[in-house]
Point group: C2
Chain length 278, copies 2
């Protein structure tokens, strides 16, 4: 008899809850998004749904109707009634007996959570320390997939060094992005960030920050930079959905400028807050 064991309990395979056979768990065979709300309104849901659809396409997932996804997200968000919420959602390829290749017609599995966002005023006021880590990720980081083991290992290592985030560094010694954020530097009047490509996520927060650059008196320059260049920058910042603009005040213990959040970063954060209705 084919069977499964969950912890130390045996269950016939035919009676097993399909959630245990989710290809999301066996292979990380799925894609996800995180959207946040400001004062009871979801920000940039359309952009997140567009990226989500692209991610589904890139891993050849059977497309789930985006209008239906939007309805589910809006319904769950309304039901939760949390003004400052993170809405996480993923689609996996579905549940099946574990085999690398997937059967035709598998029903994708949708899962979502709505959780309260912690207050980020403190880290936005004081800025955060970051630590570099080799970028061990796969070659398609433009897909927002559930294969995040290198990300969490890097972030945990940074945390163990008292840092908020890991800056991932490629084999050419250049920063790709944070373990769960985009990275931008202010150098004179330039807002410098790595151009989009398969090695980084097309960050939606980055997208909006770049759109706001002009209002902060900055010109966008898309080119990669090294940790040494990051330390030598006038200001350094992270862009991440759940916290939008986060000032970085040190890299591997070396302070950026005077070690305090800079004026351009504050300006970008203020512009972002206005845009998002924060």
């Amino acid at each position: 008899m084919e069977l499964a064991m969950v912890r130390d309990s045996i269950v016939p395979l035919t009676q097993l809850d399909p959630v245990y056979l989710d290809r999301g768990t066996f292979f990380g065979d799925g894609v996800y998004e995180v959207v946040r709300s400001y004062r009871g309104r979801l920000f940039a849901l359309t952009e997140h749904l567009e990226r989500f659809e692209r991610s589904q396409r890139e891993i050849a997932l059977r497309l789930t109707d985006t209008a239906e996804l939007r309805r589910r997200i809006e319904r769950a968000f309304a039901e939760a009634g949390l003004p400052e919420a993170a809405v996480y959602f993923h689609l996996t390829r579905g549940s099946a007996k574990r085999e690398h290749t997937w059967p035709e017609g598998l029903e994708p599995s949708f899962f979502l959570t709505v959780t309260a966002l912690p207050d980020t005023a403190g880290i936005k006021e004081k800025g955060v320390a970051v630590a570099t880590h080799p970028d061990w990720r796969w070659k398609r980081c433009d897909i927002k997939s559930l294969n995040l083991l290198p990300n969490i290992l890097a972030k945990q290592a940074a945390n163990a060094r008292g840092c908020f985030e890991a800056l991932l560094v490629d084999e050419q010694g250049r920063i790709t992005e944070g373990a769960s954020s985009a990275v931008l530097a202010v150098v004179g009047d330039a807002l410098v960030t790595r151009p989009l490509g398969p090695e980084i996520l097309p960050s939606i927060t980055r997208h909006f920050v770049l759109r706001l650059a002009e209002r902060a008196g900055l010109t966008v320059v898309e080119k990669p930079f090294t940790p040494a260049e990051a330390v030598a920058a006038d200001e350094l910042l992270l862009a991440v959905t759940t916290k939008d603009v986060v000032p970085v005040v040190s890299v591997d213990g070396r302070p950026i400028a005077d070690g305090r959040p800079g004026p351009r970063t504050r300006r970008l954060a203020a512009e972002f807050a206005e845009l998002a209705g924060a």
Copy 2:
């Protein structure tokens, strides 16, 4: 109220089955093994458990007692009563609200299946076709983790081309390994395979095949080779737990030698069968 949505049903987060918050699904934050049996006996369980313990260490998982794991595996295998079985098992870091970094003291989640192995006499007799694919995986493929999206995408692409397996090719144009197998070539009296390193799994079947080389009149040479060199080889073979030695008869449609399984591969398969008690 914090909540989850499973498909289209809303559940308060406090009432959600923790399996839905498994870090294995959110991040692929776990490691696994597959062991097989021949005629009612598990083969190389000790070696698999040793590798499993190493994988746990490499991702800083709270170690689960190997003797206890062995007891569970043997109990489940005995209960299933399948003489030719695949035993799959994984440990994830456990269930928690989704956050990249993990809390102290999380209880790892163990999951196992015992399933009947399909008969492989046909593919061992006729050999298999394989197709090359860029190796998109992360930089720590020596860890047998649940981050397998590049593997399944490569294998699915190979399947779509009528092939059994994908041979992954690194940026230097050399084969690393198969999407779920090791790759070896017979060139004259040499059995050639890529040396172990972070870019390939320390395959247990490969290990035993190398130990049997001498009996097949072959000398082991550990060096990388290209798809062109694979096609020019006298014989090509895969090593994989569930099917042990599988002859490869073509790469990207180009036949190996006369396009039939060669004598050294057959000999290695026969020696392996004897060793494993098949």
